[in-house]
Amino acid sequence: MAPLLDIRGLTRRFGGVVAVKALDLTVGEGEFVSLIGPNGAGKTTTFNMISGLERLDGGEVRFAGRSIQGLTPEAIAALGLARTFQHGRVFANLSVEDNVLLGAHTRLRAVKPRLPVIGPLAELVLALVRPPAVKKEEQALKAEAREILNLFGERLTPRLDHPAYSLSYANRRRVEIARALALRPRLLLLDEPTAGMNPTETAEMQALIATLKGRGVTILLIEHKLDLVMQLSDRVYVLDDGVKIAEGPPEKVRNDPAVIEAYLGHREIGRAASSVEVVAS
């Protein structure tokens, strides 16, 4: 069976810089795959290309058996792909509940009949008239939003109607993940979900991600905290300067000399040393 996400030769250039170079990457149904690498390695650019925010300069992205390059982000979301953002992009003036409900936008059926041309008008009329089916759908989504928020324990449930801008940083990140889950994604892209979190919050987030994995959610994760990556991942890809330098199960990647060099920065030390020599001579 073809993998759920199948990326071949993915390439993106910014001016003269090659941000991502001929990347091959697959994620199978139910798999947990991580994408790691130093800052500027091209991880987020890869996410942006998968989710349709960034165009491809080369290669192909197939998702759920069809090619999705050139599709708009909204069309890709409708195919069942949800993502979070590196710096967090919650809707600041929307309540926690509305943020999560918005995640379920692609799943609205009763209020958004699939009609050509008059679809938008029908949506307007149905939202104003609100027949029982529409009411029921909204109620069901609200109940589901509560369930999703319950995953975060007592962090978010007491703050259902608080606007997102009033939340702590960690809570905003949690809302973002809750919003992504509301889409019921076939593939969930998590971009550094523990960035800027303290050890307690990180452990909590790791437990949550483990729960999602246990429930069979397919996940592609970008993360700098290697403990978390090594414990959860089925497979790991390592990117450096836009090039894949290693891939495989965590224990194999962990001991790969190329990875150790990229992370410990041998080359950087070498570069610094050579510049010292230049000054000395």
Partner: protein
């Protein structure tokens, strides 16, 4: 004026005048990331200072120019101090709105001091003309060209070779970094506003001398032309602004040669829309548009709205309905009827600008479409108002959404500029499509409101009718926002990238917001048409658009009840306290400035 050379000379001269404006706008946009809507007011101020100097002090031209230069530079410093500096770190829209408030105040002060009558600016230039081919060039043309070239050269030297010029360029590239490096950013802003305003003032003086005519209402058009020239050249690009201005001047001049003077502005605005759509970075901007990072809650002030309990809203509505039973004072009822008509407009705008975040500066255009639609249906087809008014609402919904549709991909400042231009285009099409609209003569004899063949003339009945429509529209809008549309539109406002990543088709929801809002605005315009019995292309002017925006901000962006409160406060109260008309705009300007500074979320809070 007849030959090709004459039109070319005229185009270049007018282009030079625009350039003096546009260069200032570009400098200000560079350092402050702000489109200064008070720039046209400085231009008018300059023209009047010059007129006063020549008329009362009999100054020779160089002295007049010096006085204008210094006075306008001072005004620029004041604008920066009042309109920009206290608003650092506030919502991005705040300084823009502050400059609109300042322009209200400045224009009105000029009008109060110098009277609204047009004036002639005497010129002591020799009256000779140099024959060139089959055209000619006059002393005035040469003066304007010389001032334009000299300013450009001085500006180049200043930006390129002086320390302050370095600081200006550094601030334009990266404000924070410049500040870290010890650049006094406030002083840079001050200097830039001074230089920009001095050039803008000179432009006003030269225009006054060139056409031998100045009046206080010329500010708005001047700002618009400067903005158009800037968009053509690339917003914030100084050389681009000069080239854009000359192109605009030539286009207008040749356009007039082909079609006549009433088409002048139509060319300017069509050019603007074309550039916004196909070359939004202008002739000299790079091709790639930079996706700006979403600053959290950047365009709308975060707040917790004040929610009135249902019974209180119901009690207010009942009191409003009962009012005509308690009093029959025609003045009071007519005033409040006007407030209800304004409330329909404000409801529409608070949905589009507040909830959906598409700041519209051309909302009066929707009133005009609704008014003309209903009037024409009544006059040409004999439709009774009970049919023609809702039909006008639907026509406005469709046409409004269709007209703005191309602008949906624009954001922030650009959508404001585009809607402003679209509003002006609606007015200019009405002016020039004489066969349908009667052109400048307008439509007369529009039948009064009627119900089942009975004309409605009583103040009470009209009051009740308008109030009932406002209450119904407000209830409908509240229900609309309470559905999934509410969160969807607000998500579009907050962060388009995140919204798209969650499957929201932006065009669809922006279109629906404009359609829904267009209906209410169209109905308002239609009722007004039947009440006034007369319409022309200036009945609903751009000042009304800006007034509507003030109402919406006063009530709280996106706030349904707030829109009605804002309309009653700004249309009803000044009338009731019999504030003289010439002070009203002044009050609007001051209200806007105070709100932005001290309560940006409005009275009832943004939603």
């Amino acid at each position: 004026m007849s030959s090709f050379i004459d039109y070319t000379v005229n185009g270049l001269v007018v282009g030079n005048i625009y350039a003096l404006l546009a260069v200032g706008l570009a400098l200000i946009f560079g350092v402050a990331n702000l489109i200064n809507f008070a720039h046209g007011s400085v231009y008018t101020f300059g023209a009047y200072i010059g007129w006063a100097a020549v008329t009362f002090l009999h100054t020779p031209l160089p002295v007049t120019m010096l006085i204008v230069f210094v006075a306008c530079a001072g005004l620029g410093v004041v604008i920066e101090r009042v309109g920009l500096r206290p608003l650092q770190g506030k919502a991005r829209i705040a300084p823009l709105l502050a400059t609109i408030g300042l322009s209200f105040v400045l224009d009105q002060l000029v009008q109060l001091v110098f009277s609204p009558d047009p004036r002639a600016v005497p010129s002591d230039l020799p009256d000779w003309r140099l024959a060139v081919g089959d055209g000619s060039i006059g002393a005035m043309d040469i003066l304007i060209a010389a001032v334009g070239l000299a300013s450009a050269a001085l500006l180049y030297v200043f930006l390129r070779f002086t320390k302050l010029g370095f600081a200006v360029r550094a601030t334009a590239q990266d404000r924070e970094a410049a500040q870290q490096m010890g650049v006094n950013v406030d002083a840079v802003n001050s200097a830039v506003f001074a230089i920009a305003s001095a050039l803008g003032g000179l432009s006003g003086l030269l225009v006054g001398m060139y056409y031998n005519h100045i009046d206080p209402a010329m500010s708005f058009q001047a700002t618009l032309k400067g903005v158009v020239a800037q968009v053509i050249g690339g917003v914030g690009n100084v050389p681009g602004a000069i080239v854009g201005s000359l192109l605009l001047g030539l286009t207008e001049s040749y356009g007039i040669a082909l079609l006549g003077t009433t088409y002048r502005n139509l060319f300017a605005f069509v050019l603007l829309i074309a550039f916004l759509l196909w070359l939004p970075n202008g002739l000299f901007g790079g091709r790639a548009t930079i996706q700006s990072e979403p600053l959290v809650g950047s365009f709308i002030a975060p707040s917790r709205p004040i929610r009135l309990p249902r019974w209180a809203v119901a009690a207010l509505a009942l009191a409003a309905f009962a009012l005509p039973l308690a009093t029959s004072a025609p003045y009071l009822l007519q005033t409040l009827t006007n407030a209800w008509l304004a409330a329909m407009l404000a409801l529409s705008l608070t949905l589009i600008a507040g909830t959906a975040g598409q700041i519209s500066f051309g909302h009066a255009g929707l009133l005009a479409i609704g008014g003309y639609a209903s009037a024409l249906l009544a006059l040409d087809l004999g439709a009774p108002p009970i049919l023609s008014i809702p039909a006008a609402g639907l026509i406005t919904a469709g046409l409004g959404a269709l007209l703005v549709f191309p602008a949906f991909r624009l954001r922030g400042h650009y959508i404001a500029i585009a809607t402003l231009a679209i509003g002006e285009i609606v007015s200019l099409v009405i002016l020039n499509w004489e066969g349908l609209t009667g052109g400048a003569m307008g439509l007369t004899g529009i039948p009064p409101l009627s119900f089942l063949g009975q004309d409605i003339f009583s103040n009470r009945a009209i009051y009740w009718l308008c109030l009932a429509i406002v209450v119904s529209l407000a209830a409908l809008q509240a229900r609309f926002l309470n559905s999934h549309f509410g969160r969807t539109l607000r998500a579009v406002r907050e962060d388009e990238i995140a919204a798209r990543s969650y499957g929201i088709k932006l065009d669809r929801y922006k279109g629906l917001a404009f359609a829904f809002g267009g209906f209410g605005a169209g109905v308002s315009g239609a009722i007004a048409a039947h009440l006034y019995s007369y319409l022309n292309n200036q009945t609903f002017d751009s000042q009304l658009s800006l007034l509507a925006l003030t109402m919406v901000i006063l009530g709280g962006m996106g706030n349904v009840l707030g829109a009605i409160v804002g309309a009653v406060a700004l249309v009803g109260l000044p009338e009731l306290f019999r504030v003289a008309a010439e002070y009203r705009i002044l009050i609007y300007g001051v209200v806007l400035l105070l709100l932005i500074r001290f309560r940006p979320q409005g009275l009832l809070g943004t939603v």
